[in-house]
Amino acid sequence: MDRTKIDAPLVAALDDVKDPEERGLLVFVHASGSPPADDLRFLEELGVAAQAATKPIFTATLSANGLGQLTDRPWVRYVRLSSKLRLVGRSP
């Protein structure tokens, strides 16, 4: 796990992980380039479709162990935890 590649909310979320094999971390992956062909199968094993992985930023739901393997790839620039947003309408 390259912890320099994960943002503060993801660092905190990792502290709460009980099962490192459970896919419970919804993240944005920022890539510095296209993943090499060998890594496309690795991404598919992580649940990332090959088409999605061609984008400079793609989303994935990862286990802590999967995240660790991903951050060790040189083409992975940064990984951020997804945030829950709110609807901004109201009934006064």
């Binding site: 930023i57 609807l87 901004v88």
Partner: protein, 581 residues
Amino acid sequence: MKPEKLAPGLLGAFEDFQREGVTGLARHARAMGLVAAENVPKPPRAIVFVHCDHGARLDHLASLDVRVNQPQGGLRTAYLSLSSLSALSDEPGVHRILPSRYLRLSMDVAPGAVHLPAFRTRTGMTGRGVVVGVVDSGIDTAHPAFAGRILRVWDQVLPGAGVPEGGYGMELTGAALASSTDTHGHGTHVAGIAAGVHATYGGVAPGADIIMVKSDLQDAHIADGVRYIFRVAGELHRPAVVNLSLGAHWDAHDGTDSLSQIIDAESGPGKIVCCAAGNEGNDNLHARATVPAGGTRTPRFRVPAGGAVRWAVLNGWYSGQDRMEVSIQSPGGFATPYQAVSPGAAPAVAHALPDAQVRITTPGPDPINGDHQFLVELQPRNQLAPSVTAGVWRLRLRGAHLAAGGVVDVWALDSTGDSAVQFTGSSVSDSLKIGSPGTSRSAVTVASYTTKVSWTDAGGTPRHLGLLLNDISDFSSEGPLRGGRRKPDATAPGAMIAAPLSSASAVRPEMVVAAGYRLMAGTSMATPFVSGLVALFLERNPHLDPAGVKALLAANCRIPGRPAGTFDPKWGLGLIDATAL
């Protein structure tokens, strides 16, 4: 027949009908939801509100030509023949029957406030051929406002195989659309403002087609939804505008967050995104401190009593050239040690204070914008405590190394979703309150203007809202962005707006204005007004890009009483005027 259960107006219409037939209804039809025509064999019908026991079973009345639209609830709507009023009133669980009335309310006031009707009359545009995409709480696919115009729903919440943009949720078309519901009601209302059809409460682009992404509101899934809408619209060779009436304050407030970057990457000719500015104009959720080298600053914030705050988080950002040390002091006076930036190590440190559980995270610079972020998480002192300790807390910031001025911006978030935790004192800042995705560079970010503050609800009771009429809505969030970039872009009507009511949602009776229509307010409502307007632009020019949209808006927005082109962090460039669009 129980005439005492009928509102006087409805009873009068019923008696006139019995006495004079359809002719006797003419004087009532203009004011009530009566559907009657002479020389037509069908009996005259009425749209009514039914006050009843919450669990009253009324479905058996269908055999008597009474169609009650909701299976449960204390206030329901029904469509019935006038001759069946007697049967409905005889039901013991029914307490009152009121006529639906045609009211003149927001969506007939709001378009006029920005001269939209004249624009549409002059151009004849309705959004035909354009896709209005909405990522929201879902849509009432059976609502007549959208009949035949919902192309697809990607319900991210239903279990299924997903779509190419994400292997989760279920894509629905045709008859299967009914499998997706909108129990919140927000998405139905928003879609109706952009593209609903109705004589009085119709949307801005009633000829546009609709794609809805019912989202769990995770911003990663919202990003997948934006990509999905643009991909499907592209396959249909249609231009598209995507409406995002949502937001939060987890990001850096500078447009470098992941969702904003994806919006920027996906936008382009014929692909436009509109975002809400947010509703925190009255909330002290942002603080700014300028920390001197070697010195400290202590922004204060208050956690309210009452047990509602299960967790609170401070999201802080400052220049990557500075280094701050971070500590927190509880209302009881207990403080954590100062925590330095610790790149590459284990920067999340938990502290068990006597009156709180605290975790502080201080990683190295974010490589996307080069800035430092820190998080301070507060939780109850133990599992038995219902909430974070109430009282005044202190965020302690110490300048360890300053090369960029020591400015720190902090946003408070909490479990209530309603900004219960607020800053106090001199660090409170009424700026930088537009969060992602309103921070996206290419998105049109929309503030709210108030066009209606008084109305009569479905029960005939006059209502009034404490907002200034014909002015910026005080709840509308202020820009600019962190770093100074201008946001919001424009202002549009957002309070009070009448638009479609999802039949699966709960609603307070005073918010219902007619059968199938309710009131809401917020930048959520202002945003689809602009999305609908963009759909009209795209009908005229399917290749219009974000810069083109913004240029059109900039030339046709103005803050009342100020020179054209003036920017204000609350108004953006001002209220849209469709006269010359």
